[in-house]
Amino acid sequence: MDIIPIINRIKAGDRSAYAAVIRHYQRPLFGFLGRMGLSQAQAEDMAQEAFLRAWQKLGEFDPKRAVFATWLFTLARNLTLNELARASIRQELTLGDDLPDAVDPQPQPLDALLAGERVQRLQAVLRQLPLDDRSILALAYVEELDMAAIGRIEGCSTGAVKTRLYRIREKLRQLLATSLEKQI
């Protein structure tokens, strides 16, 4: 996505140009927030806050220094980590506090039920990861970001990102296996 023409339109006073930014990044941002362990409602608040903050700070964005996706996700990541850290201090964010886990009265096919169960387990396991690990893993699945961009966001080298990602995936697999064993 070429951000320069959009910024030029905003400079000229055309606020509606920003809608293209939201349209382009809303899905990856929600994906990121979901992997960070936020519930649907929390993610909606956070995504709104991230887009609003990006608007307010758009004047600070320098295309010579960073790609827009890297800049936006740095902002979103910092906001999310601050919020999660605050929530953890307040002890308000308990595991699965307001997850979209309402029981569907309609009978579902077995496959869908199993898939839903698996996703819930994965979300629960993700919340057990330390915030820094969760952040790297969540960023790794954002299509717009390569390893170098993740390194810039996390403040480490590309090599360090790869190594940490490998370890985090290992940890995630172990946690998933433990969670499965407990269930059996």
Partner: protein
């Protein structure tokens, strides 16, 4: 040996768990409508349009010139003071 569940795990993580709610874009744009134009951008566009404000480079030059001018005046004052002290001590 690779875990047969690995591609599934990757797929689930890539797809994400949350949906973008209906009307999300409109809700954000409604909030954006209440915000002023981003600060830096508003200034930059004013720089382009108006004659009243010098460009960023010109402003930097003016700042440097003011600094050098101020330093020169300060040094002249210092030399004048030293010269005054020297003259007074020679006269007495």
């Amino acid at each position: 040996m690779s875990d047969p569940q690995e591609p599934l795990l990757d797929k689930e993580l890539a797809v994400g768990f949350l949906e973008v709610p209906d009307g999300f874009e409109q809700r954000v744009m409604a909030r954006i409508g209440l915000e002023p134009l981003p600060e830096g951008l508003a200034e930059r566009s004013a720089e382009r349009v108006g004659w009243a404000r010098p460009g960023r480079r010109a402003r930097r030059w003016i700042e440097w010139l003011a600094l050098i001018g101020g330093t020169l005046v300060g040094l002249l004052q210092l030399f004048a003071f030293i010269f005054g002290v020297w003259t007074t001590s020679n006269l007495s």
